[in-house]
Symmetry: C2
Subunit: 326 residues, 2 copies
């Protein structure tokens, strides 16, 4: 956001009654036509600003976009989200993450959140397409984690727990986690996570935690087939919600749990994950690269692997694969 439009916005936010262009121009020491230009910019950013010749300008409604300014007002984190890269459109926020990590100083990038109002080439697990229309939350958290490679999945689990908790706290909806990395409400999917990393065998260079959640985006834009299986926050609560507050909450919940992962307190993460699991104690069908089988999901271990008791009683440990459940 241009600095001067931001200063006009602050004045409008403080004002309890409409405020004249002259008052704003005096306060900022700029011309009235500069004020008018900045009001126009703010409107383009989605701020609903009424104006009347008699009374002046009135901020009726804040922007419903995920603008860094709006998120920072509500953010209570130390690192995660303190830096934001914002895009109206981008093919994929994880793609942006790869690019900035290959070029930039990773220490400075740690905690950066990449936000897109809309992804034109969103990607899910296994390279599958992830439809990401305007109104959802499509972000990537850039991390340079102090976490061993073999425990990297703990970061996905921390993210899943953070998203489920944020949904529960903000909207009082009973969000659960479906192994490995999907968020469900009832039997409908509402979001998912995708962790990508660049690493040596024993050192992680950087991680990109992609998070996608259907929030205010209309479900009718999806295919009839998808509509049967997915839901959104607004569909569940019956009205549009404040995405900026929701995202700030997700980032805060994530930061708390990410610190646990970095401290090696994996047990705290797995315990909370289990308490939010939609998969444990369910009959599941597992498909891996090499085989497929059925059984009861009975546990996850400290690496995030699912433990399945097959019908013949044998235990299988699944670290990578698809999981289908009733």
């Amino acid at each position: 956001m241009p600095g001067s439009a931001f200063r006009v916005l602050e004045i409008l936010e403080r004002a309890v009654t409409p405020i004249s262009g002259e008052t704003i121009s005096n306060e900022l020491g700029v011309t009235r036509s500069a004020v008018w230009k900045q009001i126009k910019e703010l409107r383009q950013m989605g701020y609903d600003i009424q104006s009347s010749q008699k009374e002046g300008y009135n901020l009726v409604h804040t922007s419903n976009k995920l603008l860094p300014y709006e998120i920072h007002k509500k953010l209570h984190t130390q690192v995660i989200g303190r830096k934001i890269r914002y895009f109206e459109h981008t093919p994929s926020t994880n793609g942006v993450g790869k690019q900035i990590c290959s070029e930039g100083d990773l220490k400075n990038l740690h905690g950066t959140v990449i936000i897109a109002e809309e992804q034109t080439g969103g990607v899910g697990r296994m390279g599958r397409a992830w439809i990401s229309p305007a109104g959802g939350i499509w972000i990537t958290i850039v991390l340079k984690p102090q976490v061993p490679v073999d425990h990297i999945f703990m970061i996905t689990m921390a993210g899943s727990v953070a998203v489920a908790r944020a949904i529960r706290k903000e909207f009082e909806l009973g969000a659960l986690i479906k192994w490995p990395n999907d968020i469900y409400i009832g039997n409908k999917k509402i979001g998912g996570l995708l962790l990508e990393m660049s690493a040596e065998a024993d050192r992680v260079h950087y991680c990109l935690l992609g998070i996608g959640i259907d929030v205010n985006n209309p479900l009718k834009d999806f295919s009839a087939e998808l509509q049967r299986d997915i839901t959104s926050i607004s569909a569940e609560v019956g009205h549009e919600v404040d995405r900026a507050s929701f995202l700030a909450r997700i980032l805060r919940e994530f930061e708390n749990r990410f610190q646990l992962v970095e401290s090696g307190e994996y047990d705290a993460i797995t315990q909370e994950w289990k308490s939010l699991s939609a998969t444990l104690e369910k009959h599941v069908q597992i498909r891996t690269l090499k085989n497929s089988f059925e059984g009861e999901a009975i546990d996850i271990d400290e690496f995030g692997a699912l433990i399945v008791r097959k019908d013949n009683g044998k235990l299988e440990r699944v670290i990578a694969g698809d999981c289908y459940q009733q």
Copy 2:
């Protein structure tokens, strides 16, 4: 290599006696001045070609560079090294790997070997500098492996075994592997490996296996401190060696073992690794990100982790860290 110089080279290689420029120009249907230009190109590539007005051209010695043409003559692999990217100088072959993998079709890149005569910014484990002067072998093998993320270290182990075996077979030197990824002859380091990957939590996009070996590069170019701790193939055998044959052997040994890793036959890899280990049954000092301790290295597991029995009898599993030993 330009196609026409290559055809001249083939004629010179076939010839048992010197061959006149006229004969070559007739055979190829090009002018004698074109032949002369191509001879000049071959000499620039390191081919030692004598010429006399009376007798003609004579290939006295093949190039001592790691030219793709020379490697392909000796290569007995199906995939690894069938495609080669050759550089006189490059900052780092793993760096080239990252670039081509981010731009290209990974399926087509699988098995590509990137070769540099000299690396100007070579990198070892933990981001340490890796000095890579002309005369050594500095390569990266690009892989799109069908291997789960948690077993990715098996690829480094397969590479270590391949290098140690190739040194033993080509030069009859008693090469051993020091955990996690260095190659030693006696108590002197002769090479090392560095695996980097781009992955999701449960899917590897690509791997880059960097291999660096001191071969014909003069040790006197290293600092006095380094000279105490390292050796080279030529220092051990007393003369310069054929790097192209050696590299072709490494790639073949690696391909055999990489196939075992992809088949999940981890036990075959760890058994061979153990038989070549310089670390097992030794007293070691381990330094990880979080702590350091001493003990006896007693085993490695199927993930490549070192099992150390501490002086108090407790077993520690080390997946990431430095290992110092007498």
